[in-house]
């Protein structure tokens, strides 16, 4: 599903943020991605959702070497990846409904199906009363749920979430993780970057730990030293 071979990454001509990252994720797996602030979690996710090219090494996604893909092939691949950004990245002038509908529209879904599907999911994440609201009028936690709804609406093959529970209380955080597990049961491979040790403990999944530009794999329940 995902394979990194001695991957390095840098921003512009800056120092390498990630060095010699090598790992493999099985299809349908569920991982937490942890590490201190600034360790490069968001950067690793950027490589995964194809927003950044590695400065060296080989990235294989959906069994394809991404450096060999054409632009149209890359955009088809991107549509199979759902992303929850650390800063949400909602489109301010679109309603909640239209924001969440975006991946469906990109995939060319029918309008009537889009509306039904999207409002159902928004009700499920507790935003049934805010279908027409613009993101700037929502609270941080509500925006985060819109971002999550947008990431999962298309049942992506790969879901990447960057601190998806950073702005919500434990009850909603747990509920959102249950949503991710539900998606995982349906076959989606999941990587969640988080600082929330309580959640990591409650949900029994292996973790990828980033530190000093290197990546360690830890089995479920294990803690980095």
């Amino acid at each position: 599903m995902i394979r990194f071979d001695s991957v390095g990454m840098r921003y512009g001509s800056g120092p390498e943020v990630l060095r010699d990252i090598t790992f493999e994720l099985a299809p349908g797996s569920f991982h937490f991605l942890t590490g201190p602030s600034g360790a490069g979690k968001s950067s690793l996710l950027r490589l995964l959702y194809l927003a950044h090219r590695p400065s060296r090494g080989l990235v294989t996604l959906f069994d394809k070497d991404i450096s060999s893909l054409s632009r149209p092939e890359l955009s088809l691949l991107r549509r199979r990846i759902g992303v929850v950004f650390q800063d949400f990245r909602l489109i301010d002038h679109l309603s909640t409904l239209d924001n969440v509908a975006l991946p469906l529209r990109l995939a060319g879904a029918r309008e009537d199906q889009i509306r039904e599907h999207v409002s159902e999911l928004l009700r499920w994440v507790g935003l049934g009363d805010h279908l027409e609201a613009r993101p700037p009028t929502l609270s941080g936690g509500q925006q985060q749920r819109v971002a999550i709804a947008r990431a999962v609406i298309n049942r992506p093959s790969l879901l990447l979430a960057d601190e998806p529970t950073g702005n919500v209380d434990d009850r909603i955080g747990t509920r959102l993780l249950h949503l991710f597990e539900e998606l995982n049961r349906l076959g989606t491979t999941i990587v969640i970057a988080t600082h929330n040790e309580a959640l990591i403990e409650r949900f029994n999944h292996p973790r990828l730990h980033l530190q000093g530009g290197h990546l360690d794999r830890l089995p479920p329940g294990a803690k980095p030293y």
Binding site: H52, P72, L77, R78, R79, R89, H93, L94, L102
Partner: protein
Amino acid sequence: MLKIHYDLPLHRDSASRFLPWITGLMVFLGVMSLAFALVLGNAASSWSQALGSSLTVQILPLAPGKPGQDERVRQALDLLRETPGVSAARALPKSESEKLVSPWLGSNASLSDLPLPTLVDVRADGTSLNVALLRQRLDAEIPGSVLDDHGNWLGEVSRAAVTVQTLAFGALALIALTAILAVIFAVRAGLQLNRSTVELLHIMGASDRYIARQFQRSAAGNASRGGLAGLVLAVLALFAAQRIVGPQSGLPIRLALPLTDCLWLLLVPLAATFFAALTARLTVLATLKRLP
């Protein structure tokens, strides 16, 4: 039908708000210079038709003792009438010739005593008349005859008309270039303003064409709105000019354009819309190439 979804707030940013104004002005100027070029073209060809189909032969009076004036005029008429390409030849009666010179000599001068040349008005049909050959024969057979085919004057006029027309087309090309540059600027500014959303769409798997289409449609919409306004203003201005420089003004130029030429004018806002859309598309596609 596909409903258009604008994921980008392109209608809101100032760069695209100013696009209708620019295209409006450009279309106005474009229609005016094209109309100018067409009017000139029509005028030049109607002048050359009118002049080209008429020639004048002057039979100069000769000293006493040489063949008589009337005799030579008759000879000239015979020669002209049997020349292929000549549809009519008519000697101007003395009274008409006198009328032609009277403004210079005063009407009470006793013109009948003056040895005036006799003017023969020749109508040619189409282009089948060989002017050089006719001149040769007249020189050889009728002494004291001079053929004037208005050729020099015609040449000057049409050269002038073509020059001004070329300038007008040049102006049109510059106007089009300016409009294209304005669209490029507006689209770049729009891309810059909506940079984070464009990147987001890209990351979510929107194809370059999907993103370009939004800019393209917005540019086409803006350009067609501006272009329509520009066209309406230009047509009003042309009508006004036509009223001032109408047939009653006595100027040898007609501002009224035939229907086919009016269609060319309609083409200006259409072309502006098309090129605005195309420019927007190419600009966006070129910029998107820089994203990974």
